[in-house]
Each structure stands twice: as structure tokens, then as C-alpha cells.
Amino acid sequence: MKKSQIEEGIVKGFMLLSFSLVVCSLGFILVTVIVKGLPALNLDMLIQTPKGGYYLGKEGGILNAIVGSLYLAGGATLLALVFSLPIALFLKTYSRRKWWADYVRLSLDILWGIPSIVYGAFGFTLMLALGLRASLLGGIIVLALLELPIMTRGMDEVIRRMPIDMEEAAYALGATRFETAMHVVLRQMLPGIVTAILLAFGRGIGDAASVLFTAGYTDRIPNSLLRPVASLPLAVFFQLGTPFPEVQNRAYAAALVLTVIILVVSLGSRWLSARMGRYTIK
């Protein structure tokens, strides 16, 4: 064997090793969460709110956190969608000045890089300024800030990939830019847009640092936007902090529930985009 071939073999071995290390760490994480979480998980956990003495290990469940997280992430995703869709469509159909689109994208990339704890701290100052208390509304606003760049850039990346011919075909028929955006771009790029929305939802539901300041925590399911709300990541965090093993086990169960939600969202977005892709022109 030649030296170059031996070197090739060794390097390739290291590559395979590295790649399996990456895959194994994913497996390690999932297995850890399942092994720790599954024994502690039962139906009561999923359908009850905490009862008296829950944090000492007594009866109850984490329904407050599950519903709270869905409220928070759902609300934030809707709010972010209201702004991100126009931005993404504008960048594709309206923006004739390339430099402006570039700056918008750059600002979104920078926003995307801001740590969620900084969003949380900012949300806190915002709420002080507005006189808000920790509440569902506060959590939704801050999560929406966090999701906005993720969703917009996700949509932008897919919308940009639309062939210019298709857009021009619409213009050739006399469509305005708005009509082109709504009837052609939106429809053609729907699968990618849905994927971006679900991606942002997944990020929102999993984020703890930003809701720590702004959403508070409560054992009840909120009935108003101005009430505090529990969330799954914080349920994990707080319950792990207690000295009682029963409560810690519930933290593992909550982590499992959160992971399952993330998995469902991620698989769901793949399935949806594959299904909806049938109606678009390849």
C-alpha cells in the first residue's frame, strides 16, 4: 500500500468516528430523556394541574405548563407571522433596491444571533416601561421577538429560491406585485413557509431564558392575557431545582413531554411540506 492510501484510510476512519460521535450524542440525549422521563410519566401528569403540596411530591400534573407553553408559543408564532410574512414577501416581490433587502436580511441575521436571555432582559425593561407584570402577553411579545428573525429568514430562504420566470409570468399577465405575491409566490412556496412557521414554533416552545423574565410561572391555566403563565421549559427547570426526588422525576417527565412535542413538530413539518409539495410546480 502506498503512503497516500494509508493516510486516506486513517483520515476516513477519523471522519467516520467523528460522524458517529455526533449521531451517538443525539442518541445519548434522547435515550437519557426517555429513560429518566418515561417511568415518571403517567396520565395524571398530562391532564392535571398541580394540586396542593405538588412541589413536595403530592398529587397533580403539569397540564398548566403544557397548555401554557402551547399558548405562549402559539400566540408568539401568530404574532411573528403577522410581521414576518409581509417582510418575506416584500423582499421577494417589492424590493427593487437590492441594498435595502440586503440590509433587512442583515438586521434579521443579527437579531437571530441575539441570545434569548438578552431578549428576556429586554422584555423585562419593556414591561417595566409599559407597566406590565409578568404575563402571558409579555411572554408572547418576547417570544415573538425571538421567533421573528427565525421565521422570516426561513421563509425568505425558500421564497428566494422561487424561479424568477414564474414571477415574471405573473407580471406578464398584468398582475400587480401584490397579486403576484399573494397568488403566485405564496401558493408556490407554501410548503416552505409552513416549515418556517413550524420551525419558529419549535424554537419558541423550547425557549426558557426569554420567558423566565416575562411570563412568570403559575399553577393555573391563565384565562387572560394579563395573567402569568407556566411553561414546560421552566417546569423542567424549577422542578429540577427542588430537593425532592419525586419532583425531580416529574422534571424528567416534563422534559420528555417537551422533547416529544419538538419531535412531533419537526416530523409534522416534514410530513406537511412533503404533502403540500404536491400542489406546487417543481
Binding site: 502506498k2 503512503k3 497516500s4 492510501q5
Partner: protein, 251 residues
């Protein structure tokens, strides 16, 4: 004279497309063999099978044998890098490596360990740049990036780079198609000079170029070799209807 390259019963499939069908071919030594035919006829695929480039594509399957000097280059245990060292390639577009002009030529020498001491590298770089007709133009800027050259110069650099590893065969995949007429003529003249030492196989769709350069002609159509022979026979007196049609410009 014994043929340099023998292709026996070669079949190549991309996925389900049957790209080459039952190719049997003998390519003479130290002559320019021109493979011609309309686009999509499998010329490039045939060329790629000669330096084992086909296997870079996952979905390719092949059967049959290719023998260089009587040895099967697809046999088990054959070192693919040795095959490629034996058959240099001049691609359609010049792709200079991202290094200096000097290093482009020295690259092959280094990876094959062909120059144990530094001084002979200098000499060889000069020799092959001369052989490719590029020396005069670049001798003052050998250590500048190769990307600064014009496309025509880059193609000659690629030729020098290919010659430096001392191949026996030169494969040209429409090497002049991306060049201006003057650079193209430069390359053609080089090839004419080189044919005494190398077996040259040239893929082209330019009929005039084929007529100018060919010592031996292969005409392909839809993955098959329709006709092969000396240029005099093929160009003036084709036996096959399809060859005639092609020569008359019907494809």
C-alpha cells in the same frame, strides 16, 4: 501495431439510462484519436470511463473491460490513482487549482512523490510549461495565483499540469470549446506536437477540428459506436447512413 487501449464490450448505465451500449474499440498508440458525434451520444461518458471518472458518480453501473497496455484498469487491486496518473485529462473548462502557477504544475509531482529533491521540481515545471507553450508568458510571475491568467492561458496551464505527471495518454474533453479562436489554435498546435509521445484521445463536436487533427476517427451516436476508422475513409466515404447524415450536418 498493437493498440494502446482496448475497450471490450463496454456498457454503462446512469440509473436507468443506458448511456453506452456494447462499445468495442481499439485506440492506436501515439496518434490522435477523435471521438465525434452529436451531443448526448456518450462521447464524454466513454472518455470518463478511460480514467475511471465514472465511479465518482454513485448511480453509475458498468460492465465490460478496458485494457491499457493489455492490463484491465477495472481489475480488482488496481490503484485508481495510478490509472489516472497514466491518463491525463484536459477538461472542457480549465480549472486551475487554487494555488500559484508554479504549484499548479508541481502539484502532481508532489502528490506522486516524483521529485525527491527541490531543484528538479524547478526544472520540470519549466520543462512542462515550455512544452505547453506557456513558459514565455508566465516565467516572471510563476508564484502568482493561477486564477489571474486568461482562460486560454489557464487551459495551457492545465495541459502543463497534466503533462507533468508523465502520463502516456491525454484525454481531451472538448478542450477548446471554452476558448477564443487564438487560444484554441494554440492548444491544437500543442496537441499536434505532442502526439509523437502521447496517445491522445479528443472528444469534439466540431467537425472541422476533427478533420484537422484526427489520425483515427470514432463516430458515436445514441451510445453506440457507429463507425471507426482512418479519417480518409470516414470523412470521404462513410459506410453508415448515420455517419453521412452527421457529416452533412443533419443532427
Amino acid at each position: 501495431m498493437e493498440p494502446h487501449i482496448q475497450v471490450r464490450d463496454l456498457n454503462v448505465y446512469y440509473e436507468k439510462i443506458h448511456a453506452l451500449k456494447d462499445i468495442d474499440l481499439e485506440i492506436p498508440r501515439h496518434q490522435i484519436t477523435v471521438i465525434m458525434g452529436p451531443s448526448g451520444c456518450g462521447k464524454t461518458t466513454l472518455l470518463k470511463s478511460l480514467n475511471r471518472f465514472l465511479e465518482l458518480n454513485e448511480s453509475t453501473r458498468m460492465s465490460g473491460n478496458i485494457l491499457i497496455d493489455g492490463e484491465d484498469i477495472y481489475a480488482l487491486g488496481v490503484d485508481v490513482t495510478e490509472v489516472r496518473k497514466k491518463a491525463g485529462l484536459l477538461a472542457q473548462h480549465p480549472f486551475p487549482l487554487p494555488m500559484s502557477i508554479y504549484d499548479n504544475v508541481a502539484y502532481g509531482l508532489r502528490i506522486h512523490g516524483m521529485c525527491p529533491n527541490g531543484r528538479s521540481v524547478d526544472a520540470k515545471v519549466q520543462h512542462y510549461l515550455l512544452e505547453a507553450g506557456l513558459w514565455e508568458e508566465v516565467k516572471d510571475r510563476l508564484h502568482f495565483p493561477a486564477t489571474g491568467l486568461s482562460v486560454g492561458q489557464q487551459q495551457r496551464l492545465c495541459l502543463a499540469r497534466g503533462l507533468a505527471i508523465e502520463p502516456e495518454i491525454l484525454l481531451g474533453d472538448e478542450p477548446t470549446s471554452a476558448l477564443d479562436p487564438i487560444s484554441a489554435q494554440h492548444i491544437e498546435n500543442r496537441l499536434m506536437d505532442l502526439k509523437n509521445e502521447y496517445t491522445i484521445i479528443l472528444v469534439t463536436h466540431i467537425l472541422r477540428q476533427a478533420k484537422r487533427l484526427a489520425d483515427y476517427v470514432v463516430f458515436m451516436y445514441l451510445g453506440k459506436v457507429i463507425e471507426s476508422g482512418l479519417p480518409g475513409e470516414i470523412f470521404d466515404n462513410p459506410q453508415e447512413e448515420r455517419t453521412l447524415a452527421y457529416l452533412e450536418g443533419q443532427f
